[in-house]
C-alpha cells in the first residue's frame, strides 16, 4: 500500500487533518501534524484495512538549522495486513514550545521509546507521566543526540558521598517508587 492510499483512508477516518506523503525508498511514509497525532494513530490501529497493531520504533532526526527542528519518526507494522508504515511528525525544539502528545494510549509499548527520545533529543511528550532519563544518568544535563551536542565530551569523574538513610526512610523510598510505578 503506498502513501497516497493510506492518506485517503485516513482522511475518511480522521476529520480535518492535513497529511503529506513523504519520500522514501522502502515503505510508505506519511507526515502527520502533531495536533492530530493521537487520533491518526488510533485510526491507523483500528481501521480494518490498515490495522497497524505493532509499534516498532520511536526515534527522531535533528535537522538543526531548519525550523521545525526535529522530525519524530514512528515505525508501524501491521501483522494482519502485512504492511509497514513510517509516520513522521515535525516538531520544534521543546524550548521553542515543541510538544507532542504521547501515543501510549494507542500503543502502550510507546512508554520507554518516548522516554528515550526525550532523553536523547529533548522532545517533550505531553501526558506521558514518566518522562525521565532512560539511557543517560538521572542527573545528566543536555540531550546527546542533538546536532549541537558535541560528539565527544570529557567529563570529570563524579563521586558521591555515601548515602545515609535510616531504615524507615529507605522503606518509604521503596514504597514511593512502587506506587509511582503502579499507575
Amino acid at each position: 500500500m503506498d502513501a497516497s492510499s493510506i492518506i485517503e483512508t485516513l482522511k475518511t477516518a480522521v476529520a480535518g487533518a492535513s497529511y503529506e506523503a513523504g519520500a522514501s525508498v522502502d515503505f510508505a511514509t506519511i507526515y502527520v501534524p502533531a495536533a492530530s497525532l493521537v487520533e491518526t494513530c488510533r485510526a491507523l490501529r483500528d481501521t480494518p484495512s490498515l490495522r497497524f497493531n505493532v509499534l516498532i520504533e520511536v526515534t527522531a532526526a535533528d535537522y538543526l538549522p531548519r525550523e521545525p527542528r526535529f522530525e519524530l519518526v514512528y515505525h508501524l507494522l501491521s501483522i494482519p495486513n502485512r504492511l509497514r508504515l513510517r509516520v513522521k511528525v515535525r516538531v520544534a525544539s521543546s524550548e521553542v514550545d515543541g510538544v507532542v502528545p504521547t501515543v501510549q494510549s494507542v500503543w502502550p509499548a510507546a512508554g520507554w521509546p518516548e522516554r528515550e527520545v526525550w532523553d536523547m533529543f529533548g522532545i517533550v511528550f505531553a501526558g506521558h507521566g514518566d518522562l525521565r532519563r532512560l539511557l543517560m544518568p538521572e542527573d545528566w544535563e543536555g540531550h546527546p543526540a542533538r546536532k549541537d551536542y558535541p560528539v565527544q565530551i570529557r567529563k570529570a569523574t563524579q563521586t558521591y558521598e555515601p548515602l545515609e538513610v535510616t531504615e524507615d526512610e529507605f522503606r518509604a523510598n521503596i514504597e514511593r517508587d512502587r506506587l509511582k510505578r503502579a499507575h
Partner: protein, 206 residues
C-alpha cells in the same frame, strides 16, 4: 505463638552479575524467591553509536556496527550495508547475495554456539562451553567449511570480528587469483633478496 513477619526484600542485582550477560541493573522486590516487582536500569552499554556514525563515511561505519553484536559480527554489517544499498539504489549480483547469506548463517551458528555453551555452563555442564568455543574457533578459521576459503583468510590473530587487513608482502592463500599471486611472489622475492643481503638465511619453503 509469635506472628510471622512477612515483608518483601528489595535486592539490587547490580550492573555486573554473571547471569545478566552484560550490564543491566535490576532492583528486585522479592517475596522469598518470587519476584514481586522489578525496576530495570539500562544505559550501561550505550555507546552513542548513532551519533558517532553521523560523523563518519559509510565505509567507516561498517566496522563500527560489527561491534554491536560481537557474537555474529557480519550480520550487523550486512544489515547496515543493505540499508546503504537501499538508499543508493544499488542492486547486488546474485553471487554476492548468496555469499552474504552463507556468511550470515555461519555467523548465526557461531552466535548460537555461544548461547548453548554458556547456557550449559550455567546449569553445570561446564565442558560444553569449551566444546562450543572450540567449534567457534574452527568456524572462524574456516576449517568447518572447506569451500569458499576466501571467506576465511588464513592468518588472523584477533578473536574479534573477521575483518582482516593483510600486511604488505604477506603470503596469501592459494585461493587468490593467479595475477595476484605473481605480484605476491615478487614481493616475497624482494624480501628474500633483502634478507640475503643482510646475511641471513631464509627458508624458501615457508
Amino acid at each position: 505463638m509469635a506472628e510471622l513477619r512477612t515483608e518483601t526484600m528489595t535486592v539490587n542485582m547490580g550492573p555486573q552479575h554473571p547471569s545478566t550477560h552484560g550490564v543491566l541493573r535490576l532492583v528486585l522486590e522479592l517475596d522469598g524467591e518470587t519476584i514481586k516487582s522489578c525496576m530495570p536500569t539500562i544505559g550501561y552499554l550505550h555507546t552513542g553509536i548513532e551519533k558517532t556514525a553521523e560523523q563518519k563515511k559509510w565505509q567507516q561505519v561498517v566496522p563500527l556496527v560489527e561491534r554491536m553484536d560481537y557474537l555474529a559480527a557480519q550480520s550487523n554489517s550486512l544489515s547496515y550495508v543493505l540499508c546503504v544499498e537501499k538508499l543508493l539504489g544499488l542492486e547486488m549480483p546474485q553471487r554476492v547475495k548468496d555469499i552474504r547469506v552463507l556468511l550470515t548463517e555461519l555467523q548465526r551458528i557461531a552466535s548460537h554456539l555461544v548461547w548453548i555453551g554458556t547456557h550449559a555452563m550455567e546449569i553445570g555442564a561446564v565442558s560444553m562451553l569449551f566444546y562450543a568455543i572450540r567449534e567457534r574457533e574452527l568456524l572462524r578459521a574456516g576449517r568447518r567449511l572447506p569451500v569458499l576459503p576466501e571467506l576465511f583468510p588464513r592468518r588472523r590473530t584477533a578473536r574479534g570480528p573477521a575483518a582482516r587487513v593483510p600486511r604488505r608482502g604477506e603470503r596469501v592463500s592459494r585461493s587468490v587469483p593467479r595475477e595476484d599471486r605473481r605480484i605476491r611472489r615478487a614481493a616475497d622475492e624482494k624480501r628474500h633478496v633483502h634478507a640475503a643481503h643482510a646475511g641471513r638465511r631464509r627458508d624458501h619453503a615457508r
